[in-house]
Symmetry: D3
Subunit: 253 residues, 6 copies
Amino acid sequence: MRRNRVRDLLAQDEQVVTGWVTTGSSYAAEVVAHSGVDAVTLDLQHGMFDVPQAIACLQAVSTTSAVPLVRCRSHDAADIGHLLDAGAYGIICPNVDTDEQAQALVRACRYPPTGRRSLGPSRGVLYGGADYPQHADDTVLVIPMIESVRAVENLDAILAVDGVDAVFVGPTDLSWDAGLPPTSATVADELADLLRHIVDRARAASVPAGIFSLTPDQGRQFAEWGYRLIAPGTDMMMLRAATERAVAVLRRV
Amino acid sequence: MRRNRVRDLLAQDEQVVTGWVTTGSSYAAEVVAHSGVDAVTLDLQHGMFDVPQAIACLQAVSTTSAVPLVRCRSHDAADIGHLLDAGAYGIICPNVDTDEQAQALVRACRYPPTGRRSLGPSRGVLYGGADYPQHADDTVLVIPMIESVRAVENLDAILAVDGVDAVFVGPTDLSWDAGLPPTSATVADELADLLRHIVDRARAASVPAGIFSLTPDQGRQFAEWGYRLIAPGTDMMMLRAATERAVAVLRRV
Amino acid sequence: MRRNRVRDLLAQDEQVVTGWVTTGSSYAAEVVAHSGVDAVTLDLQHGMFDVPQAIACLQAVSTTSAVPLVRCRSHDAADIGHLLDAGAYGIICPNVDTDEQAQALVRACRYPPTGRRSLGPSRGVLYGGADYPQHADDTVLVIPMIESVRAVENLDAILAVDGVDAVFVGPTDLSWDAGLPPTSATVADELADLLRHIVDRARAASVPAGIFSLTPDQGRQFAEWGYRLIAPGTDMMMLRAATERAVAVLRRV
Amino acid sequence: MRRNRVRDLLAQDEQVVTGWVTTGSSYAAEVVAHSGVDAVTLDLQHGMFDVPQAIACLQAVSTTSAVPLVRCRSHDAADIGHLLDAGAYGIICPNVDTDEQAQALVRACRYPPTGRRSLGPSRGVLYGGADYPQHADDTVLVIPMIESVRAVENLDAILAVDGVDAVFVGPTDLSWDAGLPPTSATVADELADLLRHIVDRARAASVPAGIFSLTPDQGRQFAEWGYRLIAPGTDMMMLRAATERAVAVLRRV
Amino acid sequence: MRRNRVRDLLAQDEQVVTGWVTTGSSYAAEVVAHSGVDAVTLDLQHGMFDVPQAIACLQAVSTTSAVPLVRCRSHDAADIGHLLDAGAYGIICPNVDTDEQAQALVRACRYPPTGRRSLGPSRGVLYGGADYPQHADDTVLVIPMIESVRAVENLDAILAVDGVDAVFVGPTDLSWDAGLPPTSATVADELADLLRHIVDRARAASVPAGIFSLTPDQGRQFAEWGYRLIAPGTDMMMLRAATERAVAVLRRV
Amino acid sequence: MRRNRVRDLLAQDEQVVTGWVTTGSSYAAEVVAHSGVDAVTLDLQHGMFDVPQAIACLQAVSTTSAVPLVRCRSHDAADIGHLLDAGAYGIICPNVDTDEQAQALVRACRYPPTGRRSLGPSRGVLYGGADYPQHADDTVLVIPMIESVRAVENLDAILAVDGVDAVFVGPTDLSWDAGLPPTSATVADELADLLRHIVDRARAASVPAGIFSLTPDQGRQFAEWGYRLIAPGTDMMMLRAATERAVAVLRRV
């Protein structure tokens, strides 16, 4: 089975940069995959698309060496299984607040006897290889998101769940849930404390931690704190910012 | 009928910035339309989409005050009519090399007796208003592209064609056709001479000139030379550059 | 944030007419939005489309002043959040039978601390404005459907749930569930009693009531009873009836 | 090969009512096909869709006994061949002004030696039957549109072209081209004269004539003059009118 | 209401062959439906498509006498209702392990008072007829899948659930769950014992049994054991095998 | 720039097997590309899809080492340029009957000064590499189809056109145009003479010849005559035949 380079990099405590696709355009996904990233995450939760577009995007990303990941919409095991069958090499799952939820997520991503994933990896076999069923459980990444106060309270238990390959922090939701101001280019001290606490606990548990950042500079700060899987903003944040910059340059005439 | 703000701005010799959409994602088109541009051009020639996606993009752009333009694929009158029926407020037509071609373009865009456009402006009426048929000929912009040596030779004749509202330069194709090196962030002197010649002739003929640029800075240079309708790069150029910048920032850790 | 005109009209006890789109065609949705309605509801439950088409329809409706609403498919919080992120300004949720279900619906539609909606309103920000996160909870309408005997029994408790902005009756399902004949152009007396009971209780609780009707005349009758948010049939009911009328006129020759 | 019921009806001088689909929604096309019409015409010229949606609509119409027709976008032989391969049982071709153009249209629709249609009727075989190649030329309808003054001048020559199975009048374009006021619910006298002239010449040549009408009543008038293939308005005209009527009924409260 | 020929055949203990569509291409679905099968099953669980493509495929299958079935993705009642509304004449539901789950499945597929399906069979009425609501419960097939050890343990209870019209075995998942080697062209003895046990119990309970097979020959073996609803492989298995055979023939040159 | 393996194989007089995709399903295209073929041809002429699906299929094929080719719909230079921009590595163009048409085809596929292709290879750069503009003319295959008596008469002139990289025979159309019976599994003697004549002339001119065949065995026969680029049937022919075989096996029970 094709190796999961993101898994390998994280195992070596190396940095992983992932693009974050919210358009559902397979061309845009392919462009991002060609831009030097290690992975491309298709965001089915807040992205403006759904499974059919995700499948086309997974194909587009598969034309490159970037690893195709998805942020699924919910804990729904059938949806998660479908995205894995479509060739996703990792599931970033929103709103995992307890170890029970993390265990359910692992079961959704693993074949029996570990889990209850149904066998039928249609595109998975094309992308991963004919021995996909034998090796998928050791290849596909299971990554619960930590994005609530409750999840932080249960963090050690979540990190201890067998099969959790990494955790991924959603600072926007976490900040909001903690009653802090919305995240922006600068991170408030209280949020910074939370984010450093999470990555410290994760590293202590030998579980790699990832995080979404609003800007590349913010992502660099997170990396310095120990985060290893970094999303430096979404495709549409970048497109909007770049277009606004272009307009500003031209308006100066 | 809803006024065409791009037409108004050009009539006042004001600068017009247009986004340039090549993905066909209606969400991306909407994001660009919200980024401070005056217009959004949907590129059906080199963009990775076709008419159905263009229609959705036209709807998306129509949620904003940005003016929806299209760069059509060819001189085909039926395709041009279809895009106008879908609510495009301007046609940027590639490869117009002669005044005969420019006249044919005008005929494709205008109703009888001026032209041969067929009456049935389905979305045009929704976007433009019930009096669309009466005012479309005075509202919709007809913009031939000047992107070959032959077109430059015939420039004065093209500019003199009744109904040509502006011209739009494609420096990449023009440079290539002139046997010059491909355009890049810096414009070679010989190409610069050509580009200044075109805008000078156009201004002399009181026809606004537009141009595609590879970067915002290049676009500003063109604006200083007298170009008024500027595309400061495509959406995917911007996304790729922004992603590459983000990766570079993160790799520095 | 852009105001929700449907919320304003209901607050003033004014009538609201909503189109009801079941095709998933963004052009059809735009046509309906231009037909004098106050809102357009995209029906993801019985409509022949899914989320990707709904997103395009939301864009199409957003070209007009008609308010974009959705009838979601189920109580699934992730689906509801996704539709809100796509710019829906109201959720009409089927089969809400108890106050617990109504509370869960409110939580799905509201940000913390009121609810558990995840922050990431991609198109919501484009449609609503940059301050969407701050005002969404006071803008977006939460509208449980009353369409079972059990829901009627629990009506007062549902109406009392904090965050329920209106209720919406599904007379077809309600009639069927009550063991009454299917609804038709004329409303059976027993059903009429139920429908009048619901609107009376809602008005007593100062909660606006809406209803689906099979014909405009039936809708007018419901309005006279006190319903304020009226869907006068689906797009495809209207298209079929209009085509049948046209055929009948022509067959008379 | 499955018979073409529209051809049979026209051969018997019977009336044929065709729906007119402009949305590209296959569900809407199926609804129209179930509404009592004899045929459904998919309008690729002014409709807000393109070939992929047309193929899905052809499938939807094929679930019924209504005959699937298309109004193609132009005289382009490759496009026409593609639509026929997709199972269209008739081509209504816009803007046929001369007998040469009519001959070219016939060649685009017929196999050698009569024409130059390429053999490969993918869905044609599924819909028509395994003997499609042998009988297609005698089954598929070739219908040039008469919608300009020039076409009227050349009418007899067009009607005399071997292989022209019917003509179809576009009164809107014809009126506009003749310098007459746009068509409306009432037909101006000068336009009426033109329309009666066309149908009279067609009947004299034993070529059935069809026409697009803006309302069913107008269609009935045309039928009384001798037109036999009648489109009583588009789907979206009907949906808009029906929605406006519904709103009017409800506003009366 | 249009009869369900699969139900009739199973009632007579006749064999039913079903195509198994995993592409979501409506043209491929139509081709399969024309290939002599009694039914076409659209696989939304492991197929590389989603509901919008399923709706188009249901339309395509409805052009033929083959019965449209779906394998849904999960037990989700809203999804199942939506697919039924789209005209599916049978639901093959994965992973039904207990009689409680089978009862929930029946409730999702049946109208009140038997179940809780919501009334609004949009395409169901087009395909089934105007009396769809009255007869759907007796027409639409409810078919839980037996594909785990637990399901086999609970088999008699599942078979006894009122409203279960047939069961369908997934030998791949069952084999995997039982700790047996993955299924292949030859069936291991232990799996054979399980499969024969299931069909024997089903026949004893007068409930028809179906099964997925990897090859037609395997399917014939299953038929000899008493299975009556047979899927002889997926569309993409067949396409891949046929292409590989073609390549092998050509490589011999 | 990524090499064109089909070009290399043909230069070495090696056999090339190409899949032939008519569904437009990107998943089916990916499956075919994984089945041992050297190339996958997307058939836009008789396939039931259009450019948007072709782009997704090109992405899917690009996940493998199979070379992506297209059979375009017509000689239209804008369409051809668009497909090349989308990453097609070869154009198989229907109905090239004269050397003038072959020259026009070459011009459509080559950049200035050789041709008039417009510069903007959006996906071409992603698939081919950043130096695509410099090497595309030497990489992309230009392949006119010989499928009429007239083309055979003009064969030597066509073969002599500079830039024609191969010719591809359409035996079905050729047979039909020559007044011979439709092709079937066995090739009639007169057609065989024509087909051998073509390949002999092509080999004499050192131009590789390809051909469409209805079955793998027929393809092998053609290969023995000297054809080197062989399509052994379409995807849907194979799927239909395989399904019919499966049904036959099962019906024997």
